[in-house]
């Protein structure tokens, strides 16, 4: 056991830091946690990394991965968090990509992996439905075989950033008579331009438009868009969810968030002194950092196991639960730090021409929206209740 970085790893850190500093668009520094970005902003860094060959470090090299060790990947995410970069979105690189190279045929791999790597194709996730959230297997969207096509009907929801997406991966019921709900589900890739798809925005409590309803009405999809075998989609879906979970901890981002919180707390005053020097508040930051350290080393252990080929198992649920709790706590403390200025709601205020006086410090504007937005994290990706059920069943054996 050894916590020190090797000479090679130190050299690697220098290399990637230099690359990020030279190539990351200056105007996008510090925007990685923002939810209100344009399509171009979301994709800018992804495209640069695509050209460099660094957009999907975790993929096997033969499909376009970097061949980095888990420690190198950890360094990579730390270095990106330093500038709070806008990282490639997970839907292509972390979700559908691994499903495709693991389960799909050569034709699909050749057709879709390059676009995911380069950032030219934006993917979104067609999993949840109004009646199928935590109980995903109860999904009702159907795909009925008609000649060379599947005809898809149904409604997906919480489709993140579908308004920008080119393709969607959809879980559909292909065998309504299967004995168990998990059987009879297929994993199908659908071009968002196909007639019959309608995306409707869902406004969330933070005022943003991040998620959507996606409706399918007689959407005809070529059968060659089926991934793997028909009715075996649940296996792929679960594989994807485990992958989704391991990235969900967000340790490097949260570390950067804690630094940012310290900066804010050193600017904010309490009785004329920096809030950071306030015993009550600084203890809360310390508690958060301690919890984050526990999460960090738990993730490192998981990564180490993964690099030995013991790829993400039910223990990735720990990362999801603890990672999201920390993200929520972080935004909560940031909101507390800004005091009275948690209240103004200024989204879009800069556009309406009425911005003659600034309202409070700049960092305050997003504090409450971020707090409200982050409540989603304990709900999505399998709610934290579901994660605890997974641990109960798979690890405790109860």
């Amino acid at each position: 056991m050894n916590l020190e970085f090797s000479q090679d790893e130190i050299a690697f850190r220098k290399e990637v830091r230099a690359f990020i500093e030279e190539n990351y668009p200056k105007e996008l520094i510090g925007m990685g946690s923002r939810e209100d970005l344009t399509r171009e902003q979301f994709l800018a860094w992804h495209k640069i990394l695509g050209e460099k060959g660094w957009s999907a470090p975790a993929w096997p090299e033969k499909y376009g991965g970097t061949g980095w060790t888990s420690t190198q990947r950890y360094i990579w995410s730390e270095e990106n968090a330093r500038l709070d970069t806008i990282m490639p979105l997970p839907f292509g690189v972390s979700m559908v990509g691994p499903v495709i190279y693991t389960f799909a045929n050569e034709e699909i791999k050749e057709r879709h992996l390059p676009g995911i790597l380069s950032g030219d194709v934006w993917w979104c996730q067609g999993y949840s439905e109004p009646g199928a959230g935590s109980d995903l297997a109860s999904l009702k969207t159907t795909a009925v075989r008609d000649g060379d096509h599947y005809v898809i009907n149904g409604q997906k929801t919480w489709t993140t950033l579908a308004q920008f997406a080119d393709w969607i991966f959809v879980l559909c019921r292909t065998d309504p008579d299967a004995e168990k709900p998990q059987e009879g589900i297929s994993f199908i890739l659908v071009d968002m331009k196909t007639p019959g798809i309608e995306v409707r925005p869902i406004r969330t409590i933070d005022g943003g438009h991040e998620v959507n309803e996606t409706w399918f009405t007689d959407v005809r999809v070529p059968v060659e868009n089926l991934v793997g075998e028909e009715n075996k989609g649940w296996t792929y879906a679960k594989f994807l969810l485990a992958h989704e979970r391991s990235g969900i901890a967000g340790v490097a981002r949260s570390k950067r968030g804690v630094e940012r919180l310290r900066e804010i707390a050193s600017t904010e005053l309490i009785d004329g002194e920096p809030l950071l020097g306030d015993r009550d508040f600084s203890r809360k930051i310390s508690q958060l950092e301690i919890d984050l350290t526990a999460l960090e080393f738990t993730e490192l252990r998981t990564l180490a196991r993964e690099s030995e080929g013991k790829g993400p198992g039910p223990e990735s649920s720990i990362l999801k639960v603890k990672g999201t709790e920390i993200q929520q706590r972080l935004t909560e403390l940031t909101m507390e730090a800004v005091g009275n200025y948690a209240q103004p709601y200024l989204r879009g205020a800069a556009d309406d021409g009425s911005n003659e006086y600034p309202v409070g410090p700049d960092y305050a504007h997003v504090a409450s929206p971020n707090y409200f937005n982050m409540r989603k994290t304990s709900i999505y990706g399998g709610s934290n209740e579901i994660q605890r059920n997974i641990i109960t069943k798979m690890i405790l054996g109860l």
Partner: protein, 385 residues
């Protein structure tokens, strides 16, 4: 001991509840919140007609002879309906200053207009760098002849876009954060040198940054004694805090109710999610938080008339519990609603936002925990030598 409401209070509660049910449903509120003005003056007029605006004032002052319990009753109903109209700034704050320290002339000038609903006030006390310390003032009022000249900036003045008059705290002497040297003024918002930057708040109300640039006011603008205003400000803010606790109690109750109802309707794994024990126990915890918040709000409201120390401890204790309870109830309400709780479309998220913001008004959990601790320490019996 008596925790019953008077007949008048029960009547106020019932008629207000009916009015909110009939004219303040969630969709109507949404329309109002998103409209240009962000409130309904005609609703304010109806509140005046019901007597809500005169309820907590003595008959001598032209009121109905009620007290802080009446304001508590009103604010709990406001909390249930997420009412945005400025009852706390106008009735509890401005009304509080006038009734405790207003001169006969000031009462005559303002009380009837306030109670009749014709005049709306905002309370400009917080400052950009003052956080929750009521004495941490950079705004100054310098003696000028018989009057004063006010300069400074006030932060997040709730209801200011709707107000015609402002109650303003300013320093007439002493150093920043000194106990002495704080004075309270009543200033017309259209006075020369007053400018505002208006904006919505995240929980659907309106507020302003208010700037004072060489604003001249007469001697009759001063409420209470020059330089000795801090105890008065603390008293009024404590009354406002108790009223905000009542509002939180109303909002908490609805958020809890909605969550229980949702857990009955929402089915996953072939069964209503309300059947899952892990969720049941959390909804029980929400219930207990709500009940204890009611208790603390009654306690604090009933102790508003006690000695300064007793009053402050009671209010801080209540605000701590309400801050913590509101956070728990709000967060769990969203979590148990799942993705639906995150949507702007459902009312529950709006209750969550209001509960969250109540914690940041009039001092948050940390602020009141500190104040309570300091007061308790000062209260400690000296150990025998």
């Amino acid at each position: 001991m008596d925790f019953n409401f008077t007949e008048e209070q029960t009547m106020i509660r019932d008629s207000l509840a009916r009015l909110i049910r009939e004219q303040y449903d969630f969709d109507t509120r949404r329309g109002v919140v998103e409209s240009d003005s962000g409130w309904r003056p005609e609703m304010w007029a109806q509140f005046a007609e019901l007597g809500l605006l005169m309820a907590p004032f003595s008959e001598d002052d032209g009121g109905l002879g009620g007290d802080a319990v009446d304001a508590m009753v009103v604010m709990e109903e406001f909390g249930k309906g997420l009412v945005v109209e400025p009852y706390i700034p106008t009735v509890v704050c401005a009304g509080g200053f006038l009734k405790h320290a207003g001169t006969a002339g000031q009462k005559e000038e303002h009380m009837a207009a306030l109670m009749g609903g014709e005049r709306v006030f905002a309370f400009a006390y917080a400052e950009p760098r003052g956080r929750y310390n009521l004495a941490d003032l950079e705004t100054t009022a310098k003696k000028d002849g018989s009057g004063y000249v006010i300069n400074g900036q006030k932060a997040v003045v709730i209801g200011a876009p709707w107000a015609s008059h402002l109650i303003v705290t300013a320093r007439t002497g002493g150093d920043r954060r000194d106990e002495n040297g704080v004075s309270v003024f009543i200033v017309a918002k259209d006075a020369e040198g007053v400018t505002t930057r208006d904006y919505p708040t995240i929980d659907g109300r309106r507020a302003s940054e208010v700037y004072f640039e060489n604003v001249s006011v007469g001697a009759d603008a001063l409420i209470g004694d020059e330089g000795a205003g801090l105890p008065l400000v603390e008293r009024v803010v404590d009354e406002a805090t108790a009223a905000a606790c009542a509002e939180a109690v109303g909002a908490m109750g609805v958020a809890h109710q909605m969550t229980v109802e949702y857990s009955r309707q929402r089915k996953q794994f072939g069964t209503p999610i309300g059947k899952f024990q892990v969720l049941q126990h959390r909804m029980v915890d929400m219930f207990m938080e709500h009940e204890q918040s009611i208790s603390m709000t009654y306690m604090a409201t009933l102790k508003l008339g006690e000695s300064d120390v007793e009053r402050k401890k009671a209010v801080s204790a209540a605000k701590v519990r309400i801050g913590q309870g509101g956070r728990f109830v709000g967060q769990e309400a969203i979590q148990i609603h799942g993705g639906m709780g995150m949507t702007d479309e459902l009312a529950v998220g709006h209750y969550f936002k209001r509960l969250t913001m109540i914690d940041s008004e009039f001092g948050n959990v940390d602020h009141h925990m500190k104040r309570y601790t300091a007061l308790s320490a000062a209260d400690m019996p000296v150990a025998a030598e």
